[in-house]
């Protein structure tokens, strides 16, 4: 989502502007990179000073942790620090994969994220297409405003709402269930319900928000194509299938790539809050495990190894999906 759209795909390099800079100064003088740098520094030295704090921020809080991930291959202890702790090779990875829990965690993580993708990916597209069909006016604006609102509610509050409404004794849902003559259900206490609760509450919260990007893409679809289709006698459904959907295809592909790239990084904060001892068999995912082993049990090296495994799978997925998307549709992140 951070890249700009261009004809036939998205290009990281041109978005960063390297080509223009070189072309411009290359005209009459043979210039070296060194010369360019010196010139730019003389002209912008104040700006170079200005970016020191933000650059330091990125080094300290993003890059140092990346290198700090080497403790996955060490036995980290506080006294010797990151550099001084002894190397142990793949020990922590072996420990993790030899533990039967590992496969349950991977399975839980994948099931949850695939389920989430299957629901929360198509819903915003459908909402945007529907909104695009109706006239501008009070109704359209209200639908947009109300569906967008839950995005602003915090995770803690969303989870509290879920817990309150699904409560076995006092929750509104169970009051309804009992009124219909059934036994009340302890929704959050049942492991097989956890995934649905997680995914559908996400759909409730984020569909309106995610639809914005598609609405913007739909606004950019050429109006003449609608007119032409209309004159040719295309029905509304045909126009959606043949004009709207191809028009927003680049946006769809990019969002899909990003979602798959984040497959293993699902809303961990929400999963953690929804967990209880009864649903742990489906709700324990890699990241909640990392948190518990690392921060709570202070098993730093072991949990870093698990986290690293997670990050690497993510990166591989992103690269893979991007390659497939470029093959199939000609669109990709890079």
């Amino acid at each position: 989502m951070f890249l700009r759209y261009e004809k036939g795909g998205i290009n990281l390099k041109s978005a960063t502007g390297i080509n223009q800079t070189i072309k411009k100064t290359n005209t009459n003088k043979k210039v070296t990179q060194w010369y360019l740098a010196k010139k730019s520094f003389r002209r912008h030295w104040q700006l170079y000073l200005l970016i020191i704090p933000p650059v330091l921020y990125f080094i300290i809080f993003k890059y140092i942790p990346m290198f700090g991930a080497v403790i996955a291959f060490k036995d980290y202890n506080v006294v010797q620090g990151i550099m001084g702790s002894p190397w142990v090779g793949m020990k922590h990875f072996e420990n993790f994969f030899n533990n039967p829990v590992a496969w349950d965690l991977i399975k839980n993580t994948l099931y949850l994220s695939l389920y989430q993708l299957a629901i929360t990916f198509p819903l915003p597209i459908i909402l945007a297409l529907a909104l695009n069909e109706i006239k501008d006016g009070l109704f359209k604006r209200s639908v947009q405003m109300f569906t967008y609102a839950p995005y602003f509610i915090s995770t803690v509050v969303i989870v509290s709402m879920i817990i309150l409404m699904l409560s076995p004794r006092t929750g509104i849902i169970n009051t309804l269930v009992e009124m219909l003559g059934f036994e009340s259900i302890n929704f959050l206490g049942q492991a097989d319900m956890f995934r649905s609760i997680f995914v559908w509450s996400d759909a409730w919260q984020l569909t309106g928000y995610s639809a914005i990007i598609y609405l913007a893409a739909l606004a950019g679809v050429d109006k003449q194509q609608y007119e032409a289709a209309k004159i040719d006698g295309a029905s509304r459904i045909q126009r959606i299938i043949n004009v709207d959907i191809p028009g927003i295809m680049p946006a769809i592909v990019i969002i899909l790539i990003l979602s798959v790239g984040n497959l293993m990084a699902i809303g961990f904060e929400k999963v953690y809050l929804l967990q209880n001892p009864l649903n742990l068999s489906t709700s324990e995912i890699l990241q909640t495990y990392v948190y518990k082993m690392g921060i709570i049990n202070a098993n730093f090296s072991f949990s870093t190894a698990v986290g690293l495994f997670n990050s690497i799978i993510n990166l591989i997925l992103l690269v893979l999906v991007n390659a497939i998307a470029r093959r199939v549709s000609g669109n990709g992140l890079w």
Partner: protein
């Protein structure tokens, strides 16, 4: 806009389809709205009515007991105050850092910007992990201090890109050159020209950062131990999610009453804690949409 549409009459199936679209949108809106209305109604009802499940749409036995209970809770008040301070401090810091990074990155003649863009985009692709991040914060001595809330998440790549895109399109290179001709330094130019020109984008950034900070609980949970420093969301987590019933020594009736009140208080607490965000929501909605569009669909 659609007046000339009557030239071609809608076919019967098209009108049916359009009816279906309206019905679908109505249902979506109801599904989204119902839980919100229910929570607000419950928060305004009496403890007995909520516990016995009489509330389903409008408040039953209107009462403000839940809210009074919230205001009596000193932890909540303290959390609220902390959250306001964190949100304010964090937003100022984050916006300043984002602007002073995004502006140089938006200048074509700024040597090294390609590298710097790659430098920040890479952090989106690969994440060092929770534990190494925690160790850095620990090493810096920030654990259990307000700095742990303010600094480690002080900038977001996405926001830098939004700001950079905005500067690129609304601060033309000619303007920079003209001001340099007049002997204006880069810093003066940034302060006297760029910032006043960029009020809309600064509003977008401030709102995004503020909402993020107000709603976040996780960093506070891992970095803070002292309760006096807890932000509101962490207090909420204690009260709404992990809370265990106490008061075993009270007689049954009083215990029952306490339980009902505690249950009601949860509804009121949800409303109170979401209030600041809901108040800015009408403004925020416009700006958020703008921000998302600047950052994503460009050109």
């Amino acid at each position: 806009m659609r007046k000339n549409k009557t030239l071609i009459r809608e076919s019967f199936t098209d009108r049916i389809f359009l009816g279906g679209v309206y019905a679908y949108l109505c249902i979506v809106m109801l599904i989204v709205l119902y839980p919100l209305i229910y929570i607000v109604s419950a928060s305004l009802s009496s403890p007995e009515a909520v516990t016995s499940g009489q509330v389903w749409l409008w408040p039953v036995d209107f009462s403000l007991e839940g809210y009074i209970e919230v205001l009596r809770n000193s932890d909540v008040i303290r959390g609220f105050r902390n959250s306001i301070l964190y949100t304010f401090g964090y937003t100022v810091l984050a916006v300043v850092l984002t602007v002073i990074f995004a502006y140089p990155l938006s200048r074509e003649s700024f040597y090294g910007r390609t590298f710097l863009m790659f430098f920040i985009l890479f952090t989106m692709l690969f994440y060092g992990g929770l534990i190494p991040e925690y160790l850095v914060v620990q090493k810096l001595g920030m654990l259990d201090t307000p700095w742990a809330i303010l600094i480690p998440k002080a900038m977001a790549v996405w926001q830098i890109i939004i700001a950079r895109t905005f500067f690129q399109s609304s601060v033309p290179e000619e303007l920079v050159e003209a001001s340099e001709m007049d002997g204006c330094s880069s810093l003066k130019f940034l302060w006297y020209v760029v910032i006043p020109l960029s009020k809309p984008i600064i509003a977008v950034l401030a709102l995004m950062y503020a909402v993020f900070q107000w709603n976040s609980y996780f960093d506070a949970m891992i970095f803070l131990k002292t309760e006096a420093l807890f932000p509101l969301q962490l207090e909420l987590r204690e009260l709404l999610i992990v809370q265990s019933d106490s008061g075993a020594n009270m007689d049954i009736a009083e215990q029952q009453r306490r339980k009902q009140l505690a249950n009601l208080m949860k509804y009121s607490l949800i409303v109170v804690s979401s209030l600041p965000v809901l108040i800015i929501y009408p403004f925020a909605q416009k700006y958020f949409v703008k921000g998302m569009l600047i950052g994503s669909v460009k050109g």
